[in-house]
Symmetry: none
Subunit: 199 residues, 4 copies
């Protein structure tokens, strides 16, 4: 039909389509037909590139998390002081939530709910992803403690977990808070920095 679609980008087209459909419908309600249609590809083609629906979902998830993590770490790596570093990380994390991938928001909830039921392997994947994020934060905190920017008694693990919780919970707030929490993201970032410096 459309001879305009170059073969090599088929896989990417499918993943983009899948990301959109999974975000809109959730894993279970997403239909392979819709994904194929959204990618302007026959259903069989999806199966040539991905073993099955769950695998496709995992690929999409991995891709999304990798991009988010890379972008965040890159931003924070530009800074010199640990405080600036943490500030950048928070800023980028929160910004991405509302701008770059509006889709990500929905997908995260799908990831959480599909862990353990719909998609085998997602649970493990989420543990890894969570650890990657927390370790990144922990490293910054450790660095700051070594440089004297943070208290010597700062509990690295506990603090990193608490920051993760707040960031994660903000995702939920953005969706189900009712208020327009977007305008309060800067406020959240500043308070977190204050709190860390106080602990």
């Amino acid at each position: 039909m459309d001879h305009k679609i170059p073969a090599p980008c088929r896989r990417e087209r499918i993943m983009a389509a899948a990301r959109a459909v999974f975000a809109r419908c959730g894993f279970d309600k997403a239909r392979l037909d819709d994904i194929a249609a959204a990618a302007s590809v026959a259903k069989g083609t999806v199966y040539w590139h991905f073993r099955d629906k769950a695998t496709l979902f995992c690929c999409v998830a991995e891709d999304m998390v990798s991009r988010d993590l890379a972008a965040t770490l890159h931003a924070s790596s530009q800074s010199l002081s640990a405080v600036q570093c943490l500030n950048s990380l928070l800023e980028v994390f929160l910004k991405r939530l509302v701008s770059v991938h509006e889709e990500s928001g929905s997908l995260v909830f799908e990831l959480w709910s599909s862990a353990g039921t719909s998609v085998p392997g997602i649970g493990e994947f989420l543990l890894q992803a969570h650890k990657r994020w927390r370790d990144a934060i922990k490293r910054i905190l450790e660095d700051g403690r070594n440089r004297g920017e943070f208290s010597a008694r700062l509990d690295l693990d506990a603090t990193a977990s608490l920051i993760m919780a707040t960031l994660t919970g903000t995702i939920v707030n953005l969706r189900f808070g009712g208020l327009d929490e977007r305008s309060r993201l800067d406020n959240i970032r500043q308070r977190l920095l204050l709190a860390v410096q106080a602990w």
Copy 2:
């Protein structure tokens, strides 16, 4: 067949069974047959009491949230000072997460993911529930500010949102944090109290 099941508690049996199955399988993967079987009831009986699967899910959700909210508010209402009050609220909230309803944990993720896709009306319900929680916290904060326990400049809305975010994020941490975060719940509570008093 089984003449042992007293008629009047049929509805409750079904809701309990549904809660368990929804928590284990998620909304989409949960089969009405399994719920009926778990309730030792014929499938038709479920439909006599609940219009459809989505309605059953909503009833279970509403019941769960109401119980959690009531228990939390009751606990915090026993205290005199706002700090104690907030402390109780946090304590009960976090305790319930890990003990009373282990099921609740899973169900919350289902609720989040089903909003907007699988179950019409859940989105609205979650907004209401979120508001109920946040308002409860806000009231305590306001009370504390009036009594001079908290800073006069304390931003009630922002702080309530931040506390909600942290509590909510802790639910996620407990599930996907990898570490055994349960042992750190007390730590989280204490830090939150400290932070609130500092803001």
Copy 3:
């Protein structure tokens, strides 16, 4: 609830409700719940008065046909000449189709379609009903032939069948003819009389 419904007319209420619902929905699509509701009666009550759905349908059918047949025969019995007699029969038959029981129209189609599939016994019933109608017509024709009003060579059976066919087909025309055939019923009657006298 309503203590105003006298018990003795329960059976009649149910039959009236059933006639309406069967006419509106057809046998298969008619739900016992709807019939019971329309009769302001509990579902179990329907089963106390009628063995099952098919039996209820048969009772309704028998009642309807009996009434129609009785009314028609009564009308034609008032006349003296066979021509007048036949005229009355046709007139009443056609009039009832469009006025007295608008419901009858729909029910007849249901009867026809349910014969042999949905409702055992309906086929036999329809044969009997058809025979009763045709015999009534045949008797009038025979009477007229004996009196010299019709040709001595008039084939009683064939003519009766033909009249039945025309009357029956008119029911179909009224429903699926598109045109408003009601205004043409008199015309049909007159032509039939003319034709019979010519044969």
Copy 4:
């Protein structure tokens, strides 16, 4: 499994099977499983070719009516005089009723009963089909009137409706008349011709 079934005729196989099953069981009682089995096809295949049960039914109906109408018109188009033409039409119509499609008989009753209840769109379809038949008859009558074969005062619409009624009613007679009306079909045809020429 069975590699003996050529792919291209799948759709036709399904329609033939559906026609048989619908004729035997009626629309509501017909099971998609039976239709699929009768067509030696998986149930999903039926849904690949037809949106749903109702659509399949409509397709079968349309096909049947089209074939019947085409055959009848073809036959009558061979004749020169209007009387012969009408004679042919009646002959073929009546012959098809009892020979070519014994199935048609049952299906017609299903069509009538499903109009307005079970199958949306069938009512409209029947109106169209009825009109097509009546118009064909009307055209022949008009032709005959112009040629002087019929009375100049012949009411085309009324006569066409009456002929339709008689033919339609004969379908009913054949099924519920009790007598073996098949032997009388010629008689009916001749009488109708006589009557038309007399009107």
